[in-house]
Amino acid sequence: MQEAMIKRAKELLADGTVNRVMGWKKGEFAYDITPAVFDTAEELEQDFVCDDLTQANVSKYLIKESRKEGRILAFLKPCDTYSFNQLIKEHRIIRENVYVIGIPGGPKIDVEKIKAKGITGILSVKNEDYTLKIETIYGTETMPFYEAISGKCESCKSKKHVVYDELMGEEGDVLDSNRFDMVEKLENMTAQERYDFWRGELSKCIRCNACRNVCPACTCESCVFDNPASGISQKAAADSFEENMFHIIRAFHVAGRCTDCGECSRVCPQNIPLHLLNRKFIKDINSLYGEYQAGADTTSRAPLTDYKADDCEPSVVHERGAE
């Protein structure tokens, strides 16, 4: 696929359809892949990569890139197209300045899962018939492919591209995903158990803001948490309440707009399962307002920014048995 992508990108550069390509650049090892903009065929040939370890969602970069001169080619995985669409809906990306090629999605490999097996000195990772062959400085290691699948791909919601100008590879379907399983498990906990779970997770937070800054739904020009005039700006939480507040307010702010792309949890240096907060909102929105998938289209009205006479009342909180 990578070779076909480079070839197609070169064609589109050559015929003037686009003047830049948004993709990913190789790193020092197999896994340290960086989102990058390519201007020439030579750069593409030299550094472009899109393999099993290429996870980053590049949609958010297109906010800025679509405001530059000319048109940019973007390769989007199915999950990325939801983020892209949502940003179109929010008038953040200028659609006509992006040429979207839908590419097949995962499952992608998360190197953290390989490292969690105690495998170190990783130089290259190859998928050979669903067994990973990992070359390391200490020799060759193997592990089952499925044990290295990234968290965001484990609960993939869709193999379908919701927006594209052309497609490479076969189109897939929206999946019957297991993504709410863990949310349900949390819902079934007692309030105390749930509180303990989240305190345990959120107390690991180092407030690096990676989750917020990578999030395609977090596109405010200036975040309330960075704005001294907001009264709640903070660089470090002064107490555990503030620790919770940052993540919960963020989850509220992206509710109804979060497409569940999973980038927040992927980038968290402390492995906090932040996506679960967002999924709780998605699950609740689904059950209270009817099925809704942010980013699935660019025209529908989102439940939380729409009014219908039969919308649930605030009392629903108590009806659902708040402890």
């Binding site: 020092e28 990058a36 803001n209 990676a210």
Partner: protein, 339 residues
């Protein structure tokens, strides 16, 4: 050399913890380690390093500096400093051990930061030699020998035993305090283990990285490089690199109104953040390029300019592993290298 059998390590921990607070790296998840206050029965992590660095012990993410009582027009300052209790950090790697001497250059230079010094004075650092470095390791580039780490006491493992080498007065005192648990041991196997580690270290993928192109005298040449645009293009402006970095030491000072008094605290800050240099009437670094450049210029040029050529990086590799977009100091050094 004095040693203890690996199977008896916890006995040693129990004995240390009886006298002072002991911190050891423990696994939170497989191969994800963090320093924890030792409690009997805890197992020391076998992970190469902790996700957060050991700088937290001397320069914590937040700490209170003073308290104020404000009544009408009058203000009372409360000095809340207290003499720290003695503590031991066990299992610090060579990279983090070196980071302390880099932090010392900042915090112990005049005027001495008493908050930092207090912790430094009361902390005993027991380091652990590396036997299985990762692909992200490049401490040797900065003159660090991971098989012989600095610290008050260096500990070496041959797989079955831990050997102790005291290096400072504090270290000698520490070894003396636990000598009942130690016995003279044959270090022949240890020598083999070290030799093997050294041969791996020589072949590490980043071992050939060179610092020749950097230093205090390369100021404008690197500052004005055209490479920064491409290097910083994907940076999302988060603080992950800064916060996992053992040598990043920039901080913010803020006030917190508790409702019954004001606490003035300092917390880690990141030059990658958009408001880092923002003033009421302007900002000298308005783009991510400028903020990104600052972080690497600080480590590779500004810090050596002010500190006899010492770089502000210890090659621990945390930023390589944790940056959300996998941009890091190694890529920067390679791009800016003057061949």
């Amino acid at each position: 050399m004095l040693k203890i059998a690996a199977s008896r390590l916890n006995e040693l921990f129990d004995a240390i913890a009886e006298k002072q607070t002991l911190y050891i790296p423990v696994d939170r998840e497989p191969n994800t380690a963090e320093y924890k206050k030792y409690e009997s029965g805890m197992t020391m992590s076998s992970a190469l390093n902790t996700v957060r660095s050991a700088k937290d012990f001397f320069f914590p993410q937040t700490e209170n500096l003073a308290e104020f009582k404000v009544e009408g027009k009058s203000i009372e300052v409360k000095d809340i400093r207290q003499e720290n209790e003695d503590f031991v950090v066990f299992g610090v790697r060579a990279c983090d051990a070196r980071s302390f001497s880099i932090l010392d250059k900042v915090f112990l230079s005049e005027p001495v930061d008493s908050f930092y010094k207090n912790r430094r004075d009361h902390g005993t650092i027991v380091t652990m030699a590396c036997t299985k470095p990762a692909e992200t390791c490049f401490c040797t580039v900065f003159g660090i020998d991971p098989t012989v780490p600095e610290g008050d006491v260096s500990v070496f493992s041959d797989g079955e035993n831990y050997f102790f080498l005291d290096r400072t007065e504090k270290g000698t005192e520490f070894v003396k305090s636990v000598e009942n648990f130690l016995e003279e041991g044959d270090a022949a196997k240890l020598a083999q283990v070290q030799e093997q580690a050294r041969s791996v270290i020589k072949k590490l993928p980043l071992a050939g990285l060179s610092t020749d192109s950097f230093g205090g005298d390369k100021l404008n040449e690197h500052f004005n490089s055209e490479k920064w645009a491409e290097l910083s293009e994907a940076c999302i402006g988060c603080g992950t690199c800064t916060f996992v970095c053992p040598t990043c030491q920039c901080y913010d000072i803020r006030d917190f109104d508790t409702g019954h008094g004001i606490k003035r605290f300092r917390c880690w800050d990141s030059c990658m953040y958009s408001d880092f240099t923002k003033m009421a009437h302007g900002n000298p670094r308005t783009s991510q390029l400028e903020r990104f450049r600052q972080r690497f210029m600080h480590k590779l040029v500004y810090f050596p300019a002010n500190n006899d050529g010492e770089f502000g990086c210890v090659g621990c590799g945390r930023c390589l592993a944790k940056c959300p977009i996998s941009m890091n100091i190694v890529k920067v050094m390679k791009a800016l290298e003057v061949k």
